[in-house]
């Protein structure tokens, strides 16, 4: 359907709309048509403009007090309140004096902030580096200390062993490896006075998990349990006291030892000389 624009414009509906006299339907229609037809839009703008011009030209000033009442009433509603003339003047003269100073201050502040930020990054990295170094030094120190303790203990063991070995009462019984185990060697130190027995496992293979070396004293041809070699034995270890013996031997037994030696598991054997 083609709209007769001129007839529409001449119908008075535009004026009704502008003056707020149009029906809802007319309003909706005009708002639509206005966008479509520039002529209608134009006619409306012209009527609005001439209406405004006439009313403005015939304006009647209201009492002056009304404006102040309104400003007071809406005071809390304003987001932007103009500064008064005196405030403005004071602010302006103060501004001139401080403006230059402000500029330098701002520049200096910017430089300081940038420099400080740079230093912060530098020191942060530095601290991090030092912290890492420190941590690695601490752990190095700890492992050195632990190593040192091991040596200390070992040295003490050796010292004690030496003391025992050099005791004039001590009889040394060398036990070489039996046939097939010639590489092995162990030594018994037997205190002739106290009858205490010390064993030095010179060269014995590492005992399997569930096995243990057991020392036997041969008394008149009979093997007597002389004690078990503990896994923690490093150096000279004290075993059982043996009052009398002609020879010593070591067998590999089940953990906890056996009442009688398994001779097929004989490793070393040594007779007491003299």
């Amino acid at each position: 359907m083609k709209l007769d624009i001129q007839a529409y414009i001449a119908s008075g509906v535009i004026e009704s709309y502008v003056l707020g006299l149009a029906t809802e339907q007319e309003v909706a229609e005009l708002e639509q048509l206005r966008k479509q037809y520039p002529e209608i839009n134009q006619a409306m703008s012209e009527f609005e403009a001439s209406l405004e011009a006439q009313i403005m030209a015939n304006a009647k000033l209201p009492p002056a007090a009304i404006k102040q009442q309104l400003l007071d009433r809406l005071q809390d509603d304003f987001n932007y309140v103009p500064v008064t003339a005196t405030q403005q003047q004071a602010a302006t003269s103060a501004k001139v004096v401080t403006l230059l100073w402000n500029k330098y201050a701002v520049a200096a502040m910017v430089i300081l902030i940038v420099a400080s930020a740079g230093l912060n990054i530098y020191f942060f990295n530095k601290v991090e580096q030092l912290q890492n170094k420190y941590l690695s030094l601490v752990s190095e120190k700890n492992s050195l200390e632990a190593g040192l303790n091991i040596y200390k203990t070992k040295a003490l063991d050796i010292y004690n062993s030496m003391q025992l070995m050099s005791d004039p009462n001590m009889q040394k019984v060398s036990m070489p490896g039996v046939k097939g185990k010639e590489d092995n060697l162990a030594t018994v130190f037997w205190d002739k006075q106290s009858k205490e027995v010390y064993l030095l496992p010179n060269r014995l293979p590492q005992a399997p998990e569930n096995k243990q070396y057991q020392l036997w004293a041969l008394v008149n041809g009979k093997p007597i349990d002389a004690g078990l070699l503990g896994a923690d034995c490093n150096g000279l270890c004290k075993l059982k006291t043996i009052p009398d013996a002609q020879a010593f031997a070591i067998t590999l037994e089940n953990k906890g030892g056996s009442p009688a030696p398994h001779l097929d598991q004989l490793y070393v054997f040594g007779k007491i000389s003299g």
């Binding site: 001449a10 119908s11 008075g12 509906v13 004026e15 009704s16 502008v18 003056l19 707020g20 006299l21 708002e31 409306m44 703008s45 009527f47 609005e48 403009a49 001439s50 209406l51 405004e52 011009a53 006439q54 009313i55 403005m56 030209a57 015939n58 304006a59 009647k60 000033l61 209201p62 009492p63 009304i66 404006k67 009442q69 309104l70 400003l71 009433r73 809406l74 509603d77 304003f78 987001n79 932007y80 309140v81 103009p82």
Partner: protein, 181 residues
């Protein structure tokens, strides 16, 4: 005084929406006279017109966010707010009671457009006053008194279609008369 500053309509609307006191002050200085005249056209030259004008500016200030320049000029929008506020005032009980001359109300249909000479001689009503009496009556009732066409049809005992046509013709006539401004 502060006449140096001029705002374009979009600028003014933007500043009002941002709640600038200067913008409100400018709006008032610029438009209060025009809106006061339309309020007086409707309410009459009374103390009440001052109250209505205040309400009009408060409404404009509070509702500025709803103003849509796609639907018309700022002035048109404000004019409608002023007209509606004034008509509401006239219809309120308080106003009715303040009108001592009740008989005037009875003969309002015949007397429409002939109330106070002073009020007829200001603002838009000055132009409307120049219309033919038949047209003048319709514009008075519809525009200045806020009656619907249906109400007018019943009041004057004229078919609704005729009211519509005559009012439209009157408005076209009004447009011709306003063109010289």
């Amino acid at each position: 005084m502060q006449e140096e500053k001029k705002y374009s309509e979009p600028e003014l609307v933007m500043l009002l929406k941002q709640r600038h006191e200067v913008a409100f002050s400018y709006l008032y200085d610029n438009y209060s006279g025009a809106l006061y005249s339309i309020v007086q056209n409707i309410v009459g030259d009374t103390e009440l017109a001052n109250d209505v004008l205040q309400e009009v500016f408060v409404k404009i200030w509070k509702q500025i966010a709803q103003y849509d320049d796609g639907k018309g000029r700022l002035f048109t929008w404000m004019l409608n707010i002023a007209r509606n506020a004034a008509i509401d005032m006239v219809r309120s009980k308080g106003f009715q009671n303040s009108q001592q001359n009740r008989e005037l109300q009875e003969s309002v249909y015949e007397q429409a457009g002939t109330t106070s000479i002073a009020v007829e001689q200001i603002g838009l009503r000055k132009v409307v006053h120049k219309l033919k009496s038949e047209q003048k009556q319709l514009v008075e009732l519809a525009y200045f008194e806020g009656y619907t066409q249906d109400e007018i049809s019943k009041m004057l005992d004229i078919p609704l279609g005729t009211v519509k046509t005559r009012l439209r013709t009157a408005l076209i006539q009004l447009r011709q008369m306003l063109k010289q401004y």
